[in-house]
Amino acid sequence: MLLFLARRAILAVLVCLTVLVVSFALTRLSGDIAVSIAGPNATSADVDVIRRNYGFDRPLPVQFLDWATRAARGDFGESYIYHVKVADLINKRLPITLTLGLTGLTIALIVSLPLGILAAMREASLVDRLIGLVALLGQAMPGFWLGLVLIIVFGLQLQWLPISGLDSWDGYILPGIVLAFSAIPSLTRLTRAGMIDALASDYIRTARAKGLSRASIVLKHALRNAAMPVVSIASVQLGFMLGGSIITETIFALHGVGYLAWESILKNDFPVVQAVVLILASIFILLTLLADLANAALDPRLRAQ
């Protein structure tokens, strides 16, 4: 068990270090970063000043080590546009993105768990096929387009929900639905597959033989075993949702880190872009690590490996 934990943790740290290199290298793709910051109307003297002030005249490895050691302490430098600390900018906006991601995950689970269970209980029936079709439709839905359609239908025509901004909690509902759509197909299929396996197993036959009620068998006995892979995929999906929130936040004008990243990309605000890539990747690594640990805790067979 300890060996398993240690190996997982070391792998996570190594991946983190690689992501650190990647997010640094990413912003150096443009060639001369000082020219990008100076803008199109700058003279070569301006560019030289910027190069010296920001330390771009130093060798790349030195720049990287300087940035990485600061980043490891939570200091991501200063935004070129807002002239405030990047860490402060992100601290203010991360709660919005996290709330949005959790809203999306909650909606996805509320939809896909019952659908998956229902499809498994009526395997190969018309209901099962219809649920499979729903999952396929969800998979083909372009998220950004769904967002716009929801804005037209629920915001403009029915006027039930706010279409942009976050004046109250219900501003999270439409963007949450858009994010949930990306996770519903895989979560539904996984729940269905897990439940079909569980319902066919010996302990369910025993439970049936004991005369337990159908609800008790399905919800207490089968679901508990089917839930394990769902838990781990759900945490991975949450990670994907946080990364994908950039589109949703742009459409609904939610000022989370996704929106911040989009603005920063358009304005060449590299310290912010680097920091957002690094933080979203770190959250993803942490979530997958937690999922592995949860699985190991639930499944003794994994621990033995």
Binding site: V15, R129, A140, P142, G143, F144, L148, R189, I233, I246
Partner: protein, 280 residues
């Protein structure tokens, strides 16, 4: 005994039909488009589709905010989607299959290294990194294709690795090795042909994913540059007019949805046909 077509077969047929039609439209776009998709006519802006009040038979799907014929743009847009979907999948397939086969065949340290690369790639937020790259390098067809191709190979690698592990220990591989075939020969002539069918399924699903991602990048203004009629870009450009002319985002959106659905239906059908397991 004659078996009636099941729901599965109908679904696969529908998917194949959609893919075939869109492919033909993409190939013959210049012949099919009634007008030039780039010609603006500021006197004929935002004309509604022909079946609505005030529509004109000259523009079946109406015109956009610059008076360009919407049907012609939609038809040429199919070209962009299909081309990007296929080219991205070729690049990501080459990368992913190479990594996966090497990891599956050699195992040990090679496998560890490949698994590490896969884990790292999965942890990097896809859209964010793609947007940053396109913004820094400049948006063009080639940049979008290369960026997505370099990012989307994970599924190929995972499936190629697993299937290579399954065939690695089979008798005919041992026979080839014993007869003195080189490693390259074994990998290319013995392993690769035998893991090809599940990879075809992955390829169809990757084409669908690449098409969706291109549309999303173009929608955010960092994909295919204007005035190209990418469906994602058409939705982005129509966004400002969607409150008064909702059809302007419905037309390209529905096209995108139907195409991706068709490809996925076909991919699922192929998977059932080949009897390969579902990969998540």
């Amino acid at each position: 005994m004659i078996r009636l077509p099941s729901g599965k077969h109908i679904a696969t047929g529908v998917g194949a039909g959609i893919v075939a039609i869109v492919s033909l439209v993409a190939i013959f776009a210049p012949l099919l488009a009634p007008q030039d998709p780039f010609v603006q006519n500021l006197n004929a802006r935002l004309i509604v589709p022909a079946w609505m009040d005030g529509g004109s038979p000259a523009h079946w799907l109406g015109t956009d905010q610059l008076g360009r014929d919407y049907l012609s743009r939609l038809i040429h847009g199919a070209r962009i989607s299909m081309l990007i979907g296929v080219l991205v999948t070729i690049i990501s397939g080459l990368i992913g299959i190479t990594l996966g086969v090497l990891a599956g065949y050699f195992g040990g340290k090679t496998d560890d290294a490949v698994m590490f690369v896969i884990t790292t790639r999965l942890s990097i937020p896809l859209i964010l990194v793609a947007l940053t790259v396109v913004a820094l390098v400049g948006s063009s067809f080639m940049v979008v294709i290369l960026t997505l191709g370099l990012l989307l190979w994970v599924q190929f690698a995972v499936v190629a690795r697993t299937t290579t592990m399954q065939v690695r220990n089979l008798d005919y591989i041992a026979a080839a090795q014993a007869s003195g075939a080189s490693r390259v020969h074994v990998l290319l002539r013995e392993v690769l042909p035998n893991i090809l069918t599940p990879l075809v399924v992955v390829a169809t699903l990757e084409i669908a994913l690449a098409i969706l991602l291109e549309a999303a990048l173009s929608f955010l203004g960092l994909g295919v540059p204007p005035p190209w009629p990418s469906w994602g870009l058409m939705i982005a450009e129509g966004k400002d007019f969607m409150f008064f002319s909702p059809w302007i985002i419905m037309v390209p959106g529905v096209a995108l949805f139907v195409l991706v659905l068709g490809i996925n239906l076909l991919g699922d059908g192929l998977r059932d046909l080949f009897g390969t397991g579902r990969t998540q």
